[in-house]
Amino acid sequence: MEQQLQQLKEEALTKIQDASTVKELNDVRVAYLGKKGPITDLLKGMGKLPAEERPKMGALVNVVREVVTESLEARMTLLEEEAINAQLAKEAIDVTLPGRPIQTGNHHPLTRVVEEIEDFFISMGYEIAEGPEVEKDYYNFEALNLPKGHPARDMQDSFYISEEVLLRTHTSPVQARTMEAKGGEAIKIICPGKVYRRDNDDATHSHQFTQIEGLVVGENIKMSDLKGTLDLFAKKMFGADREIRLRPSFFPFTEPSVEMDISCFKCGGDGCNVCKKTGWIEILGAGMVHPNVLQMAGYDPAAVTGFAFGMGPERIAMLKNGVEDIRHFYTNDVRFISQFHRSEA
């Protein structure tokens, strides 16, 4: 019987090693260790043995059983692993296939510029003021020191609706309205919006375009405050190493009036095609609020002063993003707008 047992063990171990799938191996388990298997049979047959042999044989059968079980488990682990590996190999994918697109849109490039400017000035304590696009001649011109017949009205030929109403030619009427509404209080505002002028649309002109202006009114507001504010703004918008310079200019609603240039952000001031070889790029107009404008809005020019500045988001976007034709902003070609998808910190 001992010999029979030994033979059985050898047989089982060979079969275990021969089993190449989990199923075959399970068959081997059932065949040798199952309730109807030979080892069970042997154990059942123990009763026929003399009593003194029983413990010895019992131990022997258990050893064989353990050896077979162990071998089977080991083989099982191996086969299972192989099966998993085979399955994983089957599940392999081509990771270079395109991902499922997360389709999102983006801001129009002008909104991008406007919001960047808004956010900078908000951080400096400004509020955003808005006003009507169809405006009274009074707010668009007269309240801004441009009485009827003023030669500077030539500079901005306008779309009139009636004698007294027109499409605003700048966002400055929002300044006039805000001052009138604030009734003498201090003001720090930014006014973005659409404006209109009688221009034929071409690469550098658009009958509709965007402006963003700023106004600060209060006691003891000085020209140096304007310069300091614009300097910070230029550095935020165009890079920390930008320099600014002011040049005398003329606007009817400010006195003194200036134009602000920034050192060229492309060449750093050496001269290139962006700055037309001058090293400087004109960015905005500004000045100290004209006393007539303050007075008309109900402020006492002897007691309060103010500064104002204004710029064109189109020009800034054209400079910053290298856009060569202003009409791109208004044709709404998806191939154009979608290029402004990237966020910039």
Binding site: L97, R100, Q103, G105, N106, H107, H108, T111, F121, I122, S123, G125, Y126, E127, I128, E130, P132, E133, V134, K136, G149, P151, A152, F159, I161, S162, V165, L167, A186, K188, K194, H207, Q208, V216, N220, I221, K222, M223, S224, D225, K227, G228, R245, L246, R247, P248, F250, P256, S257, V258, M288, P291, Y330, T331, N332, D333, V334, R335, I337, S338
Partner: protein, 803 residues
Amino acid sequence: MLVSTKWLNEYVNINGINPADLAEKITRSGIEVDSIIDRSHGMTNVVVGYVKECVKHPEADKLNICQVDVGEETTQIICGAPNIAQGQKVIVARPGAVLPGGMKIKKAKLRGEESNGMICSLQELGIEGKLVAKAYAEGIYVLPQDTIPGENALPLLGLDDTVLEFDLTPNRSDALSMLGVAYEVGAILSQGIALPKIDFTESAEKAEDKLKLRVDAPADNPMYVAKVVKNIKVAESPLWLQNYLMAAGVRPHNNVVDITNYVLMEYGQPLHAFDYDRLGTGEIVVRHAEEGEKITTLDDTERTLNSHNLVITNGKEPVAIAGVMGGANSEVHNGTTTVVIESAYFAPASVRQTSKEVGLRSDASTRFEKGVDPNRVQEAAERAAQLMAELAGGEVLSGSVIVDELDKTAERITISPDYINSRLGMKISMDDMLSILERLKIPTEAINGQLVIEAPTRRQDLRIKEDIIEEVARMYGYDEIPKTLPVSESTPGGLTPYQAKRRIVRQFLEGAGLYQAITYSLTSKEQSQAYALETAPVTELLMPMSEERSILRQSLIPHLLDATTYNVARRIDSVALYETGSVFLGEEEDGLPREVEHVAAVLTGKWVDHAWQGETKKVDFFVMKGIVEGMMERLGLLDGLAFEQAAIDGMHPGRTANIFLNGERIGLVGQIHPTEQKKRDLKETYVMELNLERILSVDTDELLYAPVPRFPSISRDIALVVDSGTSAGTLEAIIRKAGGKLLKDVKLFDLYEGNNVEEGKKSLAFSMTYFDPERTLTDEEVVKAHEKVLNALTNDADAQLRG
């Protein structure tokens, strides 16, 4: 304004200053120099030649063979100009010369004849054709006989000159004259300036005996000075005068006209010269024109006048439109011997209006429009008389004929140095301020620590204290202003709730896959009211530039559709755009339309496009509706939102809904009518438009959290068969009403029409969630609630339960 540095040097010493440096200084201190023009264009080897002999080329009709003395030799040059002739002094570009167009002069053979250079026209030397005197406009330029063969021709022609082109702001009309520029440059360089010396002898005969003058419109013409010069010999002006005029952009005509133009450029005071004999009456009367009165101006155009146009007449008929242009009938011509010089002050507004109406802008009108210096009207007339005596052999009659009611007093401005410094944020000393004003030749006295200023009348832009602040600052240098920040109560700054919510709307729509468009507010009559949410009168331009942009829009949809068509035409099949912007409704009491901000979107083509995994989906109504719902959900406004089938012009009658918020119509969503789609070459296209202002101004409750459920919820599904016409919304409303407090949520999860469902019926399946936040629901409670729902559906919607 074109400023010849050579001419400028007659008044202020700029010798040795590089024109580019000068331009930079001028720009930084107040007047923008737009460009710097080198009139020599780097030319060399351009000399005076003497045409000793000129014969026809045997082989070519139009060519002449010339033997030209060019100083060091006599050489043969072939010339094709029609006005070439023996005995002329001409301009010769010798071999090796490079002309402004880039033409290199070489020895050449023309039809077998050697040609050693080129005889030049002024155009070939870089002078614009419209500036070349008519006599030489079509051929070579002929130099005066006193020029010497071989002499460098460039200085003779004033081409050894650099011109600065000024871009003048409207306030600096003082710099519309060489003297004005000289004052400015003198101040910049801290130099004195040399004014012209006016000195001539007058004849015994008195001007006022020869000419009568009357001004019938003194408001528009407060000052008129006339001088009379007789025995004039009209001829070509001397070369230097012609050169200066061409450098200034003025075409030379004859000495009399050139002198008036010269003085115009020198003083900024426009002058006019009449032929005394052609005036015919010995009289000048300034008056307003009669309505419909006609005059033929110098440019041979007949113009019809209005009664507010100011004219100069000979007492009978107009001889000039005041300040704008002279008449042909009194023009100086070659036979003129007696000239009347007019120097006047015409009211800016009057000239501006007239020049606009007759469509004529001249060097004269631009200066009158801005207001000429009242104190130079007389002087300019004297200067012209002097030059006519010197250059045209004229005899100046004594005195002037004058009407003068013009106020010539200077503006007095008193300002303290502290005031200037406080406005600038600087600490400029009073001495420095005085020295700056002295450099600008602005008479100033320091009285009791104040600057008392007599603003010169040539500087019409100096009226108030701030103007003086600017003068001091720009001369001191804007670079010297420190950088500070406003010291004021610190304010938090920020967006209004409306502005913040508008940004949320944009972010949501972009997150949903839409690109932001910005379209024009002006549109055509046809599109102006299409898709408008409200009916209101349109707002129309008085003088549109085109029909296409003549009226303000009342809906954002038409231009979004235009943009879609634009993209689709460029083979971009899927377009998803939105816009926020104003629409313009009717006329309010104060004359302004009501501007309402709307948001609109357009979708066409594919919505999901992930083809290789089989996920592609065309846009449909429910995509756009989902966007609207998602947006409203983000704004906390989903609860009051309702959609109702609607018939709207231009929209698909079966696929369009009105959108309501708390019972108020706030927008529309749906498919564009197929006919409209076809017209625009679009496939299925969906739009929505909402009154953004309405939506963003709804106050929403504070966001309060609801406890996360601690007890399980129970779901029940039902399938119903109802009439095809019964809407899902109706069924949902019935379910919600009947479900009571325990019904937490209702979701449609299946919709079916077709096989197995009776004709005219459809099957819908809903999933209902029952829930009590306080405890676990018992089966009985759910069954009870659910039964109520089923009964309501059967009773109210005639619904049959399905298997």
